[in-house]
């Protein structure tokens, strides 16, 4: 197991965000944390990133307990829901930021930024500021910025939520291809069952702070273990997606 959560509990002001959460993800997997809003999926992601601390339980990355390690030392890249691009920096500066902080040589930084701009097909847009980009372009920049310091694990919080429905499908395919290409273990959070089915290899279904079921999309579809899983998937399939 590359990422492992063991008996994780977390409470916010009396609200049970994580209730004995247990799961593991193999290296190279693309997993989705799927569940209705308020089911605790973002909390799980933030705890893996070190942005929130669990009240009890162990978080393991690559066989090492990382509970007391700051997020910046965990070898992760994080894509925020609204991308959180640095608005007073250009695209290039955004991507270079993590490398600069790590005191990489200027040459190395320039090279890596070029490489990533090419990867996200935005070579000519490096001098632009975030507000001069479309939603889809911003997401690609956020993706490149998260990848710049070559993390071992990529975490994405509702990566498609801020994008209008038309472009969303296109971006899903793009992101899946990218993740396959750079072969990075990834976990993304979504409340959209169709999105999870289409993109993820593994789905972790959450409800009221608990894990309801873990499995491939087919397993979950054919073999829902609890009533909630059956309902959640049925309802979503029945009414379609917004």
């Amino acid at each position: 197991m590359y990422v492992e959560m063991r008996h994780i509990n977390k409470t916010f002001d009396g609200f049970r965000a994580s209730d004995d959460v247990n799961f593991g993800i193999e290296r190279g997997q693309l997993a989705a944390l799927l569940g209705p809003s308020g089911s605790g999926k973002t909390t799980i992601l933030r705890m893996i990133a070190g942005l929130d601390k669990p009240d009890s339980g162990d978080i393991l990355i690559d066989e090492t307990r990382v509970n007391d390690l700051p997020g910046s030392k965990r070898g992760i890249g994080f894509v925020f829901q609204n991308y959180a691009l640095f608005r007073y920096m250009t695209v290039e500066e955004n991507i270079a930021f993590g490398l600069k902080v790590q005191k990489k040589s200027r040459q190395e930084i320039t090279y890596r930024v070029e490489e990533l701009l090419e990867l996200i097909s935005m070579k000519d847009l490096g001098r632009r500021y975030p507000h001069q980009l479309s939603g889809g372009q911003r997401q690609r920049v956020a993706f490149a910025r998260a990848l710049a310091p070559s993390p071992q694990l990529l975490l994405l919080d509702e990566p498609f939520a801020a994008i209008d429905a038309k472009v969303r499908r296109e971006l899903r395919t793009w992101l899946k291809d990218m993740i396959d290409r750079v072969k990075i273990t990834s976990i993304f959070v979504t409340h959209d069952q169709e999105e999870a089915m289409e993109v993820a290899g593994t789905i972790i279904l959450t409800n009221q702070g608990r894990i309801e079921q873990i499995g491939t999309p087919e397993e979950i579809c054919k073999n829902p273990k609890t009533e909630f899983v059956a309902d959640f998937i049925d309802v979503k399939l029945g009414t379609g997606h917004f």
Binding site: D13, A49, G50, L51, G71, S72, K73, I76, F78, F80, Q81, N82, A84, L85, F86, R87, Y88, M89, F97, G98, V101, Q102, Y129, H131, R145, P149
Partner: protein, 301 residues
């Protein structure tokens, strides 16, 4: 804190601000509104003339009533210069202290959630709703001879009340919400995700502040600093109570004006007032420049 509560809290703190004036001006259209418009303009002009222009003109006329020489004499009087210096000292100290305080407080309140957050935010606003005279009295009761800390201060030979430190303290008290109020809405709107992103990449607190937080708030900060300085300069009530009116020692310009006026030295009183008016006009000009700069900047980004 629930989402809804958070929203209303932000609105309480943010208010609408000057920017809303544009929306209104841009939507004027129907000719039938014409009459109402001119009546309202007339009322505003008359009101502003009586309340602002006339008094300013009176200051100028009275200051120069006995001629240029008398004006110069009043302005360059030893006590006037001392009062001017003290006003500057109090103004600069209060502005510096409140800028630092304002940055810390709004950083705390916009980037962290904790119990009592709203309470702290409303506590910071107290000086805006409390009479400055009471603020002065409070300091006398705290630091004066009969006050809580009176014995301690006396035994260590520290003089606060009826001395310069008291004047500065009172000025700080009266002006401390100003910087905070300007930068808090901006920092709050920015959220904390950009900071989190930077920290996940390994940036330290200072780098994050300098590269992420500061660029965002710098115009609001400058604006707050200017407002704070303006208020500090004109403060009368709190300083009046705590200073003891010691000529050449604890007198600030506004207090000096009052003393001169009470001595029936009208020309000098108005002459000294004109210094304050000039300073205020300077600050107003600075304010407008900053506002204009911030706006052009906003259009770019």
């Amino acid at each position: 804190m629930s989402e809804k509560k958070k929203k209303s809290f932000e609105q309480d703190i943010t208010g609408d601000g000057i920017n809303s004036i544009k929306k209104v001006v841009e939507t004027h259209n129907a000719a039938s509104d014409g009459a109402i418009k001119y009546v309202l303009i007339g009322v505003c002009v008359v009101f502003l003339f009586v309340m602002l222009v006339l008094p300013l003109a009176v200051v100028a006329v009275n200051a120069l009533k006995e001629g240029w020489a008398a004006y110069r004499e009043a302005v360059s009087d030893e006590y006037t210069i001392k009062a001017f210096k003290l006003t500057l000292i109090a103004m600069v100290t209060a502005t510096v202290v409140n800028t630092i305080f304002g940055i810390f407080a709004s950083y705390l309140l916009s980037k962290f959630y904790f119990r009592g957050r709203e309470l702290l935010a409303s506590l910071i606003d107290i000086p805006l709703s409390i009479s400055p005279v009471i603020a002065g009295l409070v300091f006398i009761l705290t630091f004066g001879n009969i006050g809580w800390m009176g014995d301690f201060l006396k035994s260590h030979d520290i003089k606060i009340v009826f001395a310069v430190p008291g004047v500065i303290l009172a000025t700080i008290f009266v002006t401390f919400p100003f910087v905070f109020r300007e930068i808090f809405p901006v920092m709050n709107a920015q959220g904390k995700e950009e900071e989190e992103a930077a920290s996940l990449m390994g940036a330290g607190g200072f780098t994050i502040f300098l590269r992420i937080t500061f660029p965002h708030m710098k115009w609001a900060l400058l604006y707050g600093v200017i407002l704070c300085a303006a208020r500090a300069m004109g403060e009368f009530g709190a300083v009046s109570v705590i200073s003891g009116h010691l000529r050449g020692k604890t007198n600030t310009l506004p207090l000096h004006v009052e003393i001169l006026y009470n001595e029936f030295n009208t020309t000098a009183a108005f002459a000294v007032s004109s210094i304050l008016v000039l300073l205020a006009l300077l600050i107003l000009a600075a304010r407008n420049i900053v506002e204009w700069k911030a706006e052009t900047k906003q259009k770019q980004t």
